[in-house]
Symmetry: C2
Subunit: 339 residues, 2 copies
């Protein structure tokens, strides 16, 4: 269905439509090998060592929003893709596609923010590119950042290592990025205090791996499609049920109020500074302690566990009221251009 | 002048305006160190070895044109950026920004072409990203490819190694890519037989370096801004005059006729499969022999030489009639969205 005809905005939403486009059109056309689960970064051999390579284009609108901007986002996002694959980020490229009519002062602010984010993260932006395209409406920009990282020696992250009883940890409340961008775009005042959680996760990830080594089995940052998409992919790639407990998921009251006003489910709203980690059950409390030492992860919690193998594996939410509901892979998207 | 106000299409043209934007806005805002000459790829240390990292976004319109398409272009262009920096390309990332309404069949053709180009070049596309943005007019797409390469052991390429008397070699006639795209875009029938020269240059570059080692001093593929921009940058970065001889520059009669009809200078039209190399004078003939063994470089020639140091270094064209004219860095661009 979604693999003929024309591209829809919903193909970019991080949900089922996008997964179909990637697996049924993009990968076969490129001649890529079949892959049951895709990671955020690829492992390559270059020189004597294995490296990680990742890429992301950022199309967020507006380009500046409470808590961040497209420059900081593009640096943090690519650092995070390396981090959740067990990589120490080493270098970034940054490629600009500018729309005619863009204010040069705005470009400057965004790049100052990108440069600052990179320096604070200890990662160098080493190469770039600049293109200009015709304007459309309010002139904006697109930034692509690719990143190279070196694998942390103790990292042993793979879907295949995940087993029954492993714990699912989350580094804080959900939805702040997506809701902050949405409110900024639409000029909504539902949640003036809401700011994007946009932040680099490499220090959290490195600390987890340094302390727990192979007991950390998989990590991901729940961006487009939110925690729902991340857990759906985890469940699908491992063929295992996943259960999360509503009462253990940290909630930001401002984000929750904004989501309720807008009729959105916090589980499927994009984040940019949150970490999901699957760790061995006996390391779960230690993992949460380690994460909580970081200000951006002070509300970390174990929110669920990996279940049995299943032919049609499900992600289930144990509600506060004691009920159960299936957490589905979002179909399209709640909001385009969120990252 | 060009560093306040708003972005113009001409800022993307590869000329003086773009150089000002990069050096006066982009690099200072990012907090990058001053650089007298920028290379197409950056050298980074990752693991035990040095690597090359490069990035380019491709915004060409139309996305399919005689001789190529945005998929092949994005693979070849990034391979070439690594190749001219003395790198053996190892892996590419490929990030798509699709416009709503794009035909999925067109996307498929472009990706098949990208995959084929990568396989033919022996380089793997290892990771990717997909975003969708709102349509504007005829829906198109943007592709970013970043590339990782390993330095060829014998490569010693640096502006600083260039001296008086070094030869400038060119691997074939100019302007085919830019003119083919321009004619395709405007539906011009001035040159129906004209096809883009879009091709990977890594085998040419590797053969040159294998045979001539340190006698190869610098390489570049003359894309946006054409040979004029490439030589202007060479002259500026070395503070040396450069002289090229019109009678020695290989010419494609179809491209020449198209350029004359359109009022363009072949020297400043974009190419995508041509190599410019500066080599020691005593290696110049050998370099041309090596290049000519490749079908895409069968008309290679020595076209000029490096001159004296100068406070205001000039690139000069010795015309067929025996006159001299200064070859200037193009100011803006002849044509936006050419690569």
């Amino acid at each position: 269905m979604s693999t003929t005809g024309h591209i829809l905005l919903a193909h970019g939403g991080g949900g089922q439509l996008m997964a179909e486009l990637i697996h049924q059109v993009i990968l076969p056309a490129l001649g890529a090998e079949k892959s049951s689960g895709l990671y955020d970064a690829a492992s390559i051999r270059a020189g004597r060592d294995r490296l990680l390579l990742t890429t992301d284009s950022y199309v967020v609108q507006p380009v500046e929003f409470p808590g961040g901007d497209i420059g900081k986002l593009s640096v943090c996002g690519t650092i995070n893709d390396l981090a959740v694959c067990g990589g120490k980020p080493v270098a970034l490229s940054l490629a600009l596609v500018l729309e005619e009519g863009l204010e040069i002062e705005l470009l400057r602010r965004v790049l100052v923010s990108a440069g600052r984010a990179a320096r604070e993260a200890g990662v160098a932006i080493v190469t770039g590119d600049t293109k200009v395209v015709e304007r459309r409406g309010q002139p904006g920009m697109i930034i692509n950042t690719a990143g190279v990282g070196v694998p942390l020696p103790k990292a042993r992250l793979a879907f295949e290592r995940i087993g029954r009883g492993d714990a699912v940890a989350l580094s804080g409340p959900l939805g702040q990025h997506g809701l902050a961008v949405m409110c900024a775009r639409k000029g909504l005042s539902v949640a003036p205090a809401l700011a994007s959680d946009c932040a680099p996760l490499h220090r959290l990830a490195a600390d987890l791996i340094a302390a727990l080594g192979a007991k950390v089995k998989w990590m991901r940052d729940p961006t487009r499609g939110g925690l729902a998409a991340t857990l759906a992919e985890l469940s699908s790639a491992t063929s295992r049920n996943v259960e999360i407990r509503q009462r253990d998921i940290p909630v930001d009251p401002t984000a929750l109020a904004a989501a309720e006003t807008l009729g959105l489910d916090l589980l499927s709203v994009a984040n940019e500074g949150k970490l999901v980690a699957v760790v061995a059950a006996d390391a779960a409390q230690k993992a949460v302690e380690i994460l909580r030492r970081h200000a951006i992860a002070s509300r970390s919690a174990v929110i669920g566990a990996i279940g049995e193998k299943a032919d049609v594996p499900l992600v289930e939410l144990l509600t506060r009221a004691g009920g159960r509901r299936v957490v589905q892979m979002p179909y399209g998207e709640d909001l385009p251009r969120i990252c």
